[in-house]
Symmetry: C2
């Protein structure tokens, strides 16, 4: 199937700007645009770059076909429409790797192209990076809170149906182990998981009332004793007994979706052990966020399921990244009016680390100048080539590569930067200008 065009996932004003600039010599001047976040969400210590892989795909589909041109012909002149019809991004894009940590000011993406060629991508670039980075950043905190315990993403129903797919991808990137979302499994290869909801147990209600044992038997018959049985539709203690009765002590797991999960997990663990189901795992779900996950650290929980808080970025549903023109023909430019100070000029970024590997600061310096003196620290450049002459570079990192990269990057943070409590960014950003 041909993939749909992404060209209209764009703001009206990008095209009117192009129309107004196009006939002017200024429009052909080489420009540099940068994506960065002025700040992290309230009290967060780090952000996680997400969406880079999706962005590279979406750029390939950014084409104005006949339908797209017809849709914008009402407010554009013929020359501009022809320019759009011919448009193929032919510039260069560099960026932080997907799965890289970022901090306030980090130049996460750098687009080099003539003005019109670059400005037209603003909305699409920001939509993808703002959404996916918000989800990945929240998810990474949940993974840290869960320690070695796996987390399953099950929030599709709480967000836009296509955002759900991207959320599942971003969550996997951040270290969650599986998703409920089948489109994410198909499109991105994220492992999918799930067994049954309360409705399944309720279905077996007859004229004699509820029949949880019949529901559990039907599930075990089809999905095997290794399945996960949802035990809190009626009485949980009765549910656990019915579950082990139906599946035997080889029962894979029970899921608890309501109530005081810590207390219930302990009771259920004792009950399962008493029934000989010592290897049966306990899955908990129900309005969990990173704080609730952390609060269950001492309880006998084996797997977490997270939904709403994951797909809404746990209080920060957008990453607040902006796309700013920073350089024209080698001349640094910046907005000068009140409250929104930008640093003009294209920036290179390096992260300095102690010999132990712990990072100490991120340094931004003018592109094309040597990196600052590292003063005995190791120094890692943060930007990599993503697009050259309009096409993706060879061997772009995969989603699994991004996942591995993040896991390694988190280990480099000072330990207090990994905590859930609010505070300053884990490392400072320094402008060596």
């Amino acid at each position: 199937m041909t993939r749909p065009s992404t060209a209209l996932l764009t703001d009206h004003y990008e095209l009117t700007m192009i129309a107004a600039a196009r006939t002017h010599p200024a429009a052909s001047r080489p420009c540099v645009f940068e994506v960065f976040a002025r700040r992290l969400p309230d009290g967060r210590r780090y952000g996680v770059v997400g969406g880079t892989g999706r962005l590279v795909d979406a750029l390939a589909d950014f084409r104005f076909g006949a339908d797209e041109l017809a849709a914008v012909s009402g407010f554009l002149d013929g020359d501009t429409l022809q320019w759009l019809a011919d448009y193929r991004f032919a510039g260069d894009i560099d960026g932080y790797r997907e799965g890289e940590l970022y901090f306030p000011g980090s130049p996460i993406l750098t687009v080099r192209a003539p003005f019109a060629d670059a400005v037209i991508l603003e909305t699409l670039i920001l939509s993808i990076l703002n959404h996916d980075s918000a989800i990945a950043s929240a998810a990474a905190r949940m993974v840290c809170a869960a320690g070695s315990r796996p987390i399953i993403e099950m929030g599709s129903r709480r967000t836009h149906e296509r955002a759900a797919v991207a959320s599942a991808r971003a969550a996997y990137l951040a270290g969650l182990t599986a998703t409920s979302n089948l489109e994410a499994a198909r499109t991105y290869g994220v492992p999918s998981a799930g067994t049954a909801a309360h409705a399944f147990t309720l279905l077996f209600t007859g004229s004699g009332g509820p029949d949880e044992p019949a529901a559990f038997r039907a599930q075990v018959d089809r999905l095997g004793p290794g399945t996960t049985l949802l035990v809190d539709t009626y009485d949980i203690t009765r549910g656990v007994a019915n579950a082990v009765e139906a599946a035997g002590p080889e029962l894979g797991a029970v899921r608890i979706d309501s109530g005081d999960l810590g207390i219930l997990a302990r009771q259920v663990r004792d009950q399962l052990d008493g029934l000989g189901a010592r290897k049966t795992k306990i899955v908990v779900s129900g309005d969990l966020d990173e704080y609730a996950i952390a609060s269950l650290r001492a309880e006998p929980v084996d797997v977490y399921g997270v939904g709403t808080s994951l797909v809404t970025g746990s209080g920060a549903p957008t990453a607040g990244m902006v796309y700013k023109l920073v350089e024209i023909d080698g001349i640094p430019v910046e907005k000068r009016s009140s409250h929104k100070v930008s640093h003009g000029g294209a920036k290179s970024a390096v992260r300095l680390a102690r010999p132990s590997g712990t990072v100490v600061e991120e340094v931004l310096h003018p592109s094309g100048t040597p990196a600052p003196d590292s003063a005995g620290h190791t120094l890692a450049p943060l930007q990599t080539a993503l697009i050259r002459d309009g096409g993706p570079v060879d061997a772009l990192p995969s989603l699994d590569d991004a996942r591995d990269h993040l896991r390694a990057a988190l280990v480099t943070l000072p330990w207090e930067g990994l905590g859930l409590s609010h505070g300053e960014p884990a490392i400072p950003t320094r402008y060596a200008f």
Copy 2:
């Protein structure tokens, strides 16, 4: 172009439940599922149903083709795969009209079909209604705060690229006048708008420094003097002077995107009037939410632009709706475990109003029973037919119909229910069971 299948925008467990239930007689029993929100977001007085129109479209594309079947063949048996291949929703769906107000417990959507036929739609239905209702509900508050002043939606860059399209649609439904999003204009006919960003003005920087007059001239040359010029890239007072110089007193509007918008609007109004540009409008944007809009009520602002707060639901990015099995073969069912009490049985809903038109309560009563005594109030049923025998009913309301319906519905609320301050739902929900 064939529209893509929506069938995998679904949770893994919906399909394993179907596999487990399918061979059992229970699977063919007629079921009723209801969508409702247990509560409104923190302190909100009402919710707005959004997404119904999108849902009807998405249901038509809910088909398991060869690609979709291949994607799920790893965890399903052959009989279930064949059932999916043959699946066409053939049941009935009733619901609140799009643009209708809702309150805690309101049965916003009612799906009648055999268990497997209905449960498979859970994730898609909730994704669409939860997202679009969250946006529409936030947007309606902004429209109330703005009074008669128009609001333009410009938040695409702050949310997932496809959620942005749905957000623009939901915002228009709620009474916003236009969107920046071109795909929403193409797909849903929402009027689109926009002129230029700071990057456009910065582009005209030369070796002699910034040249705002040249930028404004280029924009007016192409877009005419009725355009909106963005005046806060450098000094705002200078920007306003340059704007009127470039376009003359017929200048359509100036936009201010930063700073203390109230003070600046007054200064700019005085300056424009002094320059003879008395009809030039003032557009303000920059992190506006419903409270900021209300705080500008006394200032000379003509148009608001909203972004982040709109597309993130202004603190409530999901509506928290659930999809619950409430009746099987005429038998009411409900989950009984702690903390999540549901009311079993299919529900009909009516809203009672005084002769003046002001609503006083919403009453839910068992479907098939007469509506409760109205005690002198007028009584309006809230559920309408959406899908019959799997297909949309004739003359489904359009997006404009939904917009009109909401405008009329808001007028029926008690005046305190329209305020921005936190409180109880504007009217109580009563269960006449």
